[in-house]
Chain length 487, copies 2
Amino acid sequence: MSPDESAVHLGDVSASEFRRAMHRVADLTADYLEQVHAYRVVPRVSPGDVTKLLPGSPPEEPESLDRILDDYKRIIEPNTTHWNHPGFMAYFGITGSGPGILGEALAAGLNVNAMLWRTGPAATELEELTCDWLRQLVGLPPAFRGHINDTASMSSLLALATARQRVGAADIRQRGLAGRPDVPPLTVYASEHTHSSIDKAMIALGLGLEQLRRVQADDGFRLDPAALAEAIAADRAAGRRPIAVVATVGTTSTTSVDPVRPIAEICRREKLWLHVDAAYAGSAAVCPELRELMVGWEAADSIVVNPHKWLFVPVDCSVLFLRDIETLRAAFSVVPEYLRTSEHEATNLMDYGVQLGRRFRALKLWMVLRAFGQRGLQERIRYHCGLARRFAALVQGEPGWEVCAPVPFSTVCFRAVPELPLEEQNRFNERLLAEVNARGPVFVSHTKLRERYVLRVAIGNLRTSMSHVAQAWELLRAVRARLAAEW
Amino acid sequence: MSPDESAVHLGDVSASEFRRAMHRVADLTADYLEQVHAYRVVPRVSPGDVTKLLPGSPPEEPESLDRILDDYKRIIEPNTTHWNHPGFMAYFGITGSGPGILGEALAAGLNVNAMLWRTGPAATELEELTCDWLRQLVGLPPAFRGHINDTASMSSLLALATARQRVGAADIRQRGLAGRPDVPPLTVYASEHTHSSIDKAMIALGLGLEQLRRVQADDGFRLDPAALAEAIAADRAAGRRPIAVVATVGTTSTTSVDPVRPIAEICRREKLWLHVDAAYAGSAAVCPELRELMVGWEAADSIVVNPHKWLFVPVDCSVLFLRDIETLRAAFSVVPEYLRTSEHEATNLMDYGVQLGRRFRALKLWMVLRAFGQRGLQERIRYHCGLARRFAALVQGEPGWEVCAPVPFSTVCFRAVPELPLEEQNRFNERLLAEVNARGPVFVSHTKLRERYVLRVAIGNLRTSMSHVAQAWELLRAVRARLAAEW
């Protein structure tokens, strides 16, 4: 394999071919957003079906972009679960909005890796700027600085790693946790409704699932501060070392809001790191009238808000706000020779976490915040909350159904209550969910609350309107009636 | 804030507005790729300059997409370091290729979160399929299964977390590392040239930087197996517990290749996890004649290959191959009630790592592998290797310069050797680098090898041809001559 002196420049696909294909992608995407409502939300497909449609080996020879895009349209798009569908009301409804899609496409063309300021000046500074815009929009004090991660899973992991590093003399970054008589088990506190990402952070950080205290919640699914204080005291008495509390603003099951102010007071007293998981509901703070639900979060050490959840930014984009972002850098900065630069005064984003490589995620966030503006974001979040309240009112107004949790935001937990023993009720609702989802126009998910199998309708897609919510309700009623007749 | 019964549906930006803007983005991106060579690689900008061009607060009212795109073109694009520039030869040269850009744009429109099979059937199955295509392309045995992460930093973290979990009776996932007399310090071995992501994994996983043994390298910057065996024995004798070795195929400084076969033999004998970091050079294995450099990697427990490095996929896309992927699931799977589904036989990608949320990264990988085909990928990698060899030959042919490391792939380490003491030589090369980069048409980086400040030219962009390499060389010679005259 000697160098071929006569080699022509091989390069990328041809410029004209790319331009033509990119215009086709523009139409494919615009068509998709206009017509996505015509799809079933969840495709009628079984595991392995997509694989069967594709060759088991890569092609030896290049294929044309048109052929690849034909296959995309024929095989990929129809076999997707359509998160951008107005009937998507499962988990948390999200939106890859038009402005965000533009931002992703442009970022892919630039292909910036903003690990260092010098490798991405605009990307680095736009990240700092848009995080500060978001901070202002949700009403957090200027002390907080934001850092974009892919997901809340990583944001929360970094927050807890920083809390762990704050056990100062231990210098866990340098010396680790194992084989150290001077480091007792380090405990973290969260409500029983905390997201599974906190469990994963406990695993990854070597703290151990056992050291996550799932503190009991009150009737409203909110962490009970008295129970928290007791758990902390018990651990201290047993020789363990509490390091952090995770308060959730908008839990995944019910969107309940932990009482952040008394929790913050406990953290202050006990010198514990307070991490607020507001991945979903933090976006609601763009509406001043919803901020009262977050009161106390301004006393947190770290807060995660995911613009890819309820702020219409395509996945992935999670903002970790830290009151003292230098603590994150102290925990993670490692600068090898090949990454040293002379711009000492500049922010190098690689210093603030695990990942060296960093996509230009701020671009889509910037474009979304500008395209909707503060007013546009507020109106849409209010509209979603209004839809959820109207859905809850429909459920409450119908005999034999119940709303199972308060509705502070845009998610409703509810269930059918047929006159059956609880076990049978649960099977009934499970079957109800499966059959409603099998119909196609809506996709609803579930959770369990106090041994009850509960359905969840979560509004978060920009294309969802009252007609879709009403359709979901009519479908639920119809399937319930049929099920009741044959149960 | 009662629900507004008369609220119109607010929705996304209008369909026609989006379509028009997306076509404009198609042209912006196509124009960019056609004209990027006309930019300086690194913009002439200082920290804070971009921020000054942008308002400090988000807009209250919505702004038009055209206005936002105007600002993109005026403020963002010119102030970017152009990784897609043919003169980008710093760090590792990469490419956001045309087919990959199409894939990113389509993925943003779908906005799939493939956490569960049911939430992304096509995304989940395409990920499994394309990872297997890549496995075939690089010639790994079928036992390896791939899992896409954002970056090699995460891939390597997951690999070491899985190694940590294999310390079976300890059940570190459940019980953690702290306060356990039964768990000694856990040590990891890597060469002194290992990437900083391994340091960050040691921090994050609670193993501690001190427990990373940076084993001495040989004259060719390759980990010395004898020194490795000694280090392991010394740790065992001291009561520490070795858990894993990281072998690098293509180190960041010189692209040296650790001798994987004897390292694998040591790992087999010592029952240690072998992780192979082939983030950059793994892609070269698409060329059968380059696979001999990787011999032995098929005995690894885990291997990371980054298609976003040298396989023309836009950032981010890192594939972690595991010989027994179920060990990764055993380390990380946590399934809360709200994520339970009935598709027991399907792969749920969320089970294989820290992050719950998962973008549809396989789409761009699939499009790139198809658009170039096996032959196209091979030709381009051979072409890049050829360019590097030709550059090395130019350096070697010129008195007063030296190539500082072997050139197995597409990266050349070299330096000017003026007749000066070593300290002065280093300052000379540092200044040479700064002045060459300040000129604009090329961007070169550096490292340190045996106390020598060394320049690096790394070829990896599809737009780079011999003319750019020759231009870099002429620029280096010219600046060197000027510097020598005034030194």
